[in-house]
């Protein structure tokens, strides 16, 4: 199944009545768009397209404007998060021992910038502050598994080990 189809499938389950109850108090208040979108994201974990279209319709805001606003702010996610959340530590110890190179290598392997999710919805790449494992620097977490003492050339193997 192609990734787009997968997203579409996920989108089909969007319960628009939930969106309605979020939007209802803000009808006619176009200036409240950002708080509305924050609530929608809180509810779904990201901004599903059908929910966005519904908000645009109900609030009488062009879809282009809504999309423009939500893609401007980094806090909004247009895709659900992946099955595996990769958190690259950006704490001082990790930074000094080369976490930027690690992040770069992961970006390269997955073809996404930090903060994004792969099209197959497998990985989401994020950053965290020190996770308290400085002795193992540089460190990343994949879901709950820490991986330490990393070098860029180890990354491919590690990522491949996740199905």
């Amino acid at each position: 199944m192609s990734s787009e189809a997968e997203v579409a499938d996920i989108n089909q389950d969007i319960d628009l009545s939930q969106v309605d109850s979020i939007v209802e108090p803000y009808l006619g208040k176009k200036e409240m768009l950002i708080p509305v979108m924050q609530k929608v994201q809180e509810h779904f974990g990201y901004l599903p397209r059908p929910a966005m279209e519904h908000v645009a319709r109900r609030m009488r805001i062009p879809l282009s404007r809504l999309y423009g606003v939500t893609t401007f702010y980094a806090q909004f996610k247009m895709k659900p998060r992946g099955r595996y959340i990769i958190r690259v530590c950006k704490g001082t110890a990790c930074h000094i021992s080369g976490s930027p190179k690690i992040a770069e290598r992961i970006e390269e392997i997955l073809g996404i910038p930090g903060g994004e999710t792969t099209d197959d919805l497998k990985f989401t790449l994020e950053e965290v502050a020190c996770i308290g494992a400085c002795a193992l620097a540089p460190v990343i977490m994949i879901n709950d598994n820490p991986h330490g003492r990393l070098t860029p050339d180890k990354m491919k193997e590690i990522l491949d080990s996740y199905e």
């Binding site: 645009a56 062009p62 282009s64 404007r65 423009g68 401007f72």
Partner: protein, 813 residues
């Protein structure tokens, strides 16, 4: 507030406070470069190319946003300024694909021009070339976001002026671009293909497809013309190269469209070059058309008409003029038919227009638009009802939006959620067909809450008591039941319309039976009379027509009972005047209207018909019946640019010139007479209608002496008091709105300042008829809102041969 004096580049100027430095400089004719500034959009100060140096100010200022100050000393091309501008250009070039050799914008690109002006040949920065979307999925234009400089003008036009809201800035940082939501192809967005983003893009990011490879701007000639579609009559420039239209741009200074267009004006002209054009006279022999010489065709027509008239009398002939042909064509047409001894001359275009004409004539004494299109933008409240201007008359829609933006209360009373609702203050989603009840309900509230203009009602109107008795029944509660609205919504809307200092009503001439036809129009007029919202600037009732010269063809006397500008034939003086001027005896018999002639089951006595640019077989109610009618005629001649459904039934078909091929005038829905220049040589054996009519008249033995349309116009103006002050010479400076009775008269922006054409304005007691609502014919209030309909039928004959037939979202094309 006193004026501000400042000095720019050593020259002194006095301007009003709040003027920007850029505006002040422009008044002095100083050219400060701009990318992101557009006079009708809120300035965003984004591009910084317009910086200037203000003495004593620390930093350079963006002149498009910085207001002038007293005693300011400004330098627009100082070394500092030039170096800053070079940096701006250099930054833009850093990731701009330098495709100038093949780029369609070469010669009109601001980036190119300014780089030339400041001698910036390449970037001092190294930047990645963008790899953004190149969207050419639609039939109209290409969007190449790699060339976009993010000035934001297209976004402003699309969101604020057009209201389509198709595009906005998306994403951040290096990949920022402008586009539809979810970066969908523009074709799947809410884009209406008005082309206004294209017309205003300073660079080559938005390119119309028609122009690709066709010619450089300096190789084309620009010829002013009038849009051939709707009755707003937008002013366009046709870009001509080698006898071919290769593009269209809106006229910036036009009082009608002010640089705006819709999809029809921007893209709809290509039918002119359609391979389907008829290019020689055709005569049917044994059921097939064969090309013949003009002499042969004219001979045949003259003999056949003479034959019919000698056997059945002069009234066996009928002529149908065209709401798409010019004033001159229509004037000569009715002159020829009347010279042949009959008043059977009419136009067939849309019966729905007839009810609106009747309604307006009854209330005010004249059907013509009360006010000008531009005035809508300045009004204090707008009631949109029984219309969807967004599709039928986009420029009017833009003006309504502008009014709303400037703070006017906007009431939109339409069954379906149209885009205008986005910017409305009161949205009344009433049940289809209950419009008249709502209007009466509004009048009820206005009277009950004492919001009426008593002085106006007293001095300028009659029939109030009877009217009041009728609307007394239409309490908000009662009307709420009929319309499906709430009483409170109705009250609020009534207050909004009645409390504004100036208020306008926007509807559509194509009102249909379901809405209440003429009665609905009378109800709208009642509302205007009740609140004194007529006879003043930015008030009135707007009922624009569908076809571009419907007003003009009616003005020209293409009507069974009147000659030019409604001079009625029952008046002996009128008959006398025209008989003397034309050297023929004008018949005293009233003519037949088109509706009477085609009435099913009646023998109209018509044996021969001359149809110029109309298509009743495709546009009529009962198509089969009208086709039979045509087939039963002894003789039918049709003059048209295409082989229409009607033309195919004719004995003779004469080719006609398209709008771009002939000189002539057209009168728009605000009574503005406008001159259209010929831009092209007609194809093959084609001649303009006026020339054909002059020739034909000669073959009939009349002595007409016209060297060209200008002389035709001079004759009609001399016989028509409302047009008397209009001449080609004056029109070459710009359109004039009739009444324009004298050479030094400026034309009339709005009607009825002192009195109505019928003296007092007439209130009509009109009732909502639930039967009519039930009798739904599938057409909503304005027939245009529900698709292909006869009021746009002639336009449809041409859009079928145009790229705009690819625009699936609109019903009108």
């Amino acid at each position: 507030m006193s004026a501000i004096n400042l000095t720019i580049d050593g020259r002194e100027i006095e301007v009003a406070p709040g003027t920007t430095i850029l505006q002040a400089a422009r008044q002095l004719g100083i050219d400060i470069p701009t990318f992101c500034y557009d006079p009708e959009l809120a300035p965003n100060g984004a591009c910084r190319i317009c910086v200037v140096e203000v003495e004593k100010a620390r930093a350079l200022v963006a002149s498009c946003v910085a207001p002038v100050g007293p005693g300011m000393v400004v330098h627009t091309e100082s070394d500092r300024v030039v170096s800053a501008r070079k940096s701006v250009l250099s930054l833009l070039l850093a990731n701009h694909p330098l495709d100038c050799i093949t780029c369609e914008k070469t010669g009109e690109c601001k980036l190119q021009d300014y780089c030339y002006r400041y001698d910036v040949a390449s970037s001092e920065y190294v930047g990645a070339i963008k790899d953004l979307s190149y969207d050419d999925t639609n039939a109209f234009f290409v969007r190449d976001m790699n060339k976009c400089i993010l000035c934001g003008i297209c976004v402003g036009k699309c969101q604020d002026v057009v209201g389509a809201g198709a595009i906005d800035f998306v994403k951040r940082g290096f990949v920022t671009n402008v586009g539809p939501g979810f970066e969908d192809p523009i074709e799947d967005s809410s884009c209406v293909f008005c082309g206004m983003c294209i017309d205003n893009c300073p660079v080559g990011a938005l390119i119309p497809k028609y122009v690709t490879g066709k010619g450089r701007p300096w190789q084309t000639e620009s010829v002013p013309a009038v849009c051939p579609y709707c009755s707003l009559g937008c002013n366009i420039n046709l870009h001509i190269k080698d006898n071919e239209v290769i593009g269209v741009s809106p006229v910036e200074e036009s009082p009608v469209n002010r640089g705006h267009l819709c999809v029809q004006g921007k893209f709809g002209w290509d039918f002119v070059h359609s391979g389907d054009r008829i290019t020689a006279p055709l005569v049917k022999s044994d059921g097939v058309f064969v090309e013949v010489s003009w002499e042969e065709a004219l001979d045949y027509i003259v003999d056949s008409i003479k034959d019919v008239q000698s056997r059945f009398g002069p009234d066996a002939l009928m002529g149908l003029g065209s709401p798409k042909a010019s004033n001159e064509d229509n004037y000569l047409f009715q002159k020829l038919i009347r010279s042949l001894g009959t008043n059977n001359v009419d136009s067939y275009t849309c019966h729905c227009h007839a009810s609106s004409v009747d309604g307006m004539v009854e209330a005010f004494g004249n059907a013509a638009a009360t006010n000008s299109i531009a005035e809508v933008a300045e009004t204090g409240a707008v009631l949109v009802i029984g219309a969807n201007p967004e599709e039928s008359h986009p420029i009017l829609d833009y003006r309504v939006r502008e009014a709303a933006q400037k703070g006017a209360e906007l009431v939109v009373a339409v069954p379906d959620m149209v885009k205008l609702v986005d910017v409305s203050d009161h949205y009344l989603p009433l049940k289809q067909g209950t419009e008249l009840a709502l209007v009466n309900g509004l009048a009820n509230v206005i009277i009950a809450e004492d919001l009426l203009d008593k002085a106006f009602v007293e001095k300028r109107t009659e029939g109030f008591d009877q009217f009041k008795k009728t609307v007394d029944k239409y309490t908000p509660e009662h009307v709420a039941e009929i319309t499906g609205l709430t009483a409170e919504e109705i009250r609020a809307a009534a207050r909004a319309y009645a409390s504004a200092e100036k208020a306008a009503i926007v509807s559509d001439a194509a009102v249909n039976k379901q809405t209440g036809g003429a009665d609905f129009v009378k109800a709208l007029a009642n509302l205007a009379l009740l609140t004194g919202n007529v006879g003043r600037e930015s008030t009135g009732v707007y009922l624009p027509y569908g076809e571009n010269n419907l007003q003009g063809s009616a003005d020209m006397g293409v009507h069974p009972n009147n000659v030019t500008c409604y001079q009625h034939l029952k008046d002996e003086k009128v008959r006398e005047k025209f008989s003397r001027a034309w050297g023929v005896r004008i018949s005293e018999n009233y003519g037949l209207s088109a509706a009477e002639a085609f009435e099913a089951g009646k023998n109209s006595g018509i044996k021969a018909m001359y149809i110029m640019g109309e298509n009743p077989v495709a546009c009529g109610g009962d198509k089969a019946q009208i086709a039979d009618y045509m087939k039963n005629l002894d003789f039918l001649v049709v003059q048209d640019i295409f082989m229409t459904e009607t033309a195919s039934l004719a004995d003779v078909v004469l080719p006609a010139a398209a709008f771009a091929e002939k000189l002539g005038t057209y009168t728009n829905s605000e009574r503005r007479v406008q001159l259209n220049q010929p831009a092209l040589e007609p194809p093959g054996e084609v001649f303009p209608d006026w020339a054909v009519l002059v020739e034909l008249a000669e073959w009939f033995g009349f002595e007409w002496d016209f060297a060209g349309p200008e002389e035709v116009f001079a004759e009609l103006a001399s016989l028509t008091p409302d047009y008397a002050g209009i001449s080609y010479q004056r029109l070459s400076e710009g359109g004039l709105q009739w009444p324009c009775p004298a050479d030094d008269h400026p034309g009339t922006k709005f009607l009825y300042q002192d009195s109505f054409s019928r003296g007092l304005g007439l209130f009509s007691a009109v009732e909502y008829d639930p039967e009519a609502e039930a009798e739904s014919d599938g057409h909503s209030a304005a027939c245009c809102t529900s698709g292909g309909h006869s009021c746009r039928c002639l336009s449809e004959t041409i859009t079928r041969r145009s790229v705009i037939s690819a625009f699936k979202n609109s019903c009108c094309v």
